[in-house]
Amino acid sequence: MKLPFSAVLGIFLTSSFLFMAVFAQFLAPYSISDPSGGVWEGPSATHWLGTDTIGRDIFSRLIYGGQITIFVALASSTLAFSLGAFLGFMAAVKGGWVEQVMSRLVDLVMAIPSLIVALVILSVLPLNLTVLILVIGLLDSTRVYRLSRAVAMDIAVMDYVEAAKLRGERQTWIIFREILPNALSPLVAEFGLRFIFAVLFISTLSFLGLGIQPPLTDWGGMVKENKDGLVYGKSAALMPALAIAALAISVNLVADWILSRTSSLKGGRGG
């Protein structure tokens, strides 16, 4: 099977980001917290992307910040995904009041913009990694719930699921053998989209000063630290901004490609 160029690019960039996040400690040339040059130096041979508002190496901080951004996004989208997909599937198979209660609850949460809910919650909870991951993950699980419930409902009314029920199969067989294999591709693509959402969300919160707190940093926080430089023509704030955009776009390319394969896979292996 031939990969389209956009998918190759997406997969390459996404894996580079992941590699960078995993091996940040070995890759970063300078420390995350100590100044190693002058304030807002331009790119040079020693500081590839220049230095920041108090003279720290931007490239190093970008690598460390990426680790945090990707870690938080991955953790919260994994949480969102396992919780949302599990409850969504259960709602679709069980039906009845279980489904009603869960669906109405999700309607309620989704009736308010996520950012507003997050701001309201974060005004009382302490700002630490666990809280951030939980808040983003739980808010996002509502979207996963809706999608997986809809996908599972579409499959659950298929005659082959009815045939399995008539055969006397148990619910675990029906969920894992009949429904899940057919729901996998849209859900995998959705995971990509949820991951992007989490990246954007944590970056936005950090930018607003309500996300990752010093001494740790992430890309959103780095934009916030260096934004004043822009007025003096210092492009330091654009580096983390570019990184966010590049990560989001490359994951989007991969998700798009998986999604486009979904329809062709519907009928089996595609002959």
Binding site: D107, L108, P113, S114, V120, S123, L210
Partner: protein
């Protein structure tokens, strides 16, 4: 009762119930979270006595449910309480800022809506050909950008590379309309960028959906010109989904506005909210959060009502 009217009334009633539920979540849900408002205000160094006094003063010793209904009743009468941090009346503080937020959002909508519909039409018209691919490629990119990232790219471009605008959007009473318009130009550009992509993609999808219907083929087989097909057959069916898409995306603006206001230090509701989240000023956060939620829910109701009214099956029952 006419079925359309019945459905519309039902939808609005449902929306109001939802709004009530949201208010309960924002008030009671927050109460249920760990954390002590009095402690939050006075900080870690507070003595037990001062904490107890403050709790008494804020009515925190009453049961939460009682305080909720008291709050709701007052809120319905326009009294949102006072800010914990500075004791200023919240309703007064919100009034002016809400106007500023609406001004910013309306300017963005006035540009984004017609532009999104035109681009959506062009993309649908050239479905799969280069204009469609170009538009789709650009919008896919802007969808991947958070608002503040888009904002700083725009700032860098339009204040440094091409110094046309000021990087902050200061508005104050006494400015003329044109001065205001010039002041908000940058945030408006950013908001348009952010909301345009979604709006245009959904408009394109709505139009394509209609254009693929069998009745469009019927119209073509009648020998009608492309303009007649679009105007007489596609448009009457596409208008409802497009209007609905546009309104739903205006709801996106509600969120976008919060971040963009902070970026440009624009003195309005979003900035006010973020400030007070940082200060952990719960009454303000609850009040402003409630306003954002109400606008968002209201727009969603409006979109649904338009969809109901536009459905010929409901308008002309059997």
């Amino acid at each position: 009762m006419h079925p359309v009217l019945k459905l519309v009334v039902q939808r609005i009633a449902l929306g109001l119930i939802l709004l009530l539920a949201v208010s309960a979540v924002i008030f009671l849900g927050i109460e249920a979270l760990p954390g002590d408002t009095a402690q939050a205000i006075l900080g870690q160094g507070a003595t037990e006595v001062s904490l107890a006094n403050l709790r008494e003063k804020l009515g925190l010793n009453e049961p939460a449910i009682t305080r909720y209904f008291a709050w709701l009743w007052a809120a319905l009468h326009g009294d949102l309480g006072v800010a914990l941090t500075n004791g200023i009346d919240i309703s007064t503080a919100i009034g002016q800022r809400f106007g500023n937020t609406l001004f910013l959002a309306s300017c963005a909508a006035a540009i984004a809506v017609p532009l999104a519909i035109i681009l959506g039409l062009v993309a649908a018209r050239y479905n799969g050909r280069w204009p469609d691919k170009l538009i789709s490629g650009i919008t896919l990119t802007t969808i991947s950008l958070p608002e503040f990232v888009a904002a700083y790219f725009v700032i860098f471009l339009l204040t440094q590379v091409f110094p046309i605008f000021q990087p902050v959007a200061m508005v104050f009473p006494g400015m003329t309309f044109w001065e205001r318009l010039h002041a908000v130009a940058l945030p408006v550009i950013v908001l348009v960028m952010v909301v345009l992509a979604h709006m245009m993609r959904m408009t394109r999808a709505a139009i394509l959906n209609v254009m693929q219907s069998a009745y469009i083929e019927t119209a073509e087989l009648k020998g009608l010109s492309p303009m007649q097909v679009i105007w007489k057959h596609a448009f009457p069916n596409a208008i409802a989904p497009i209007v609905s898409v546009v309104i739903l995306n205006l709801a996106y603006l509600v969120v976008g506005v919060v971040v963009v206001e902070v970026v440009f230090s624009y003195n309005a509701l979003g900035q006010y909210l973020v400030d007070h989240v940082t200060k952990r000023d719960l009454p303000v956060v609850q009040a402003v959060g409630m306003i954002f939620a109400a606008v968002y829910i209201g727009l969603n109701i409006l979109a649904d009502v338009i969809t109901i009214i536009a459905n010929p099956r409901l308008r002309h029952p059997k």
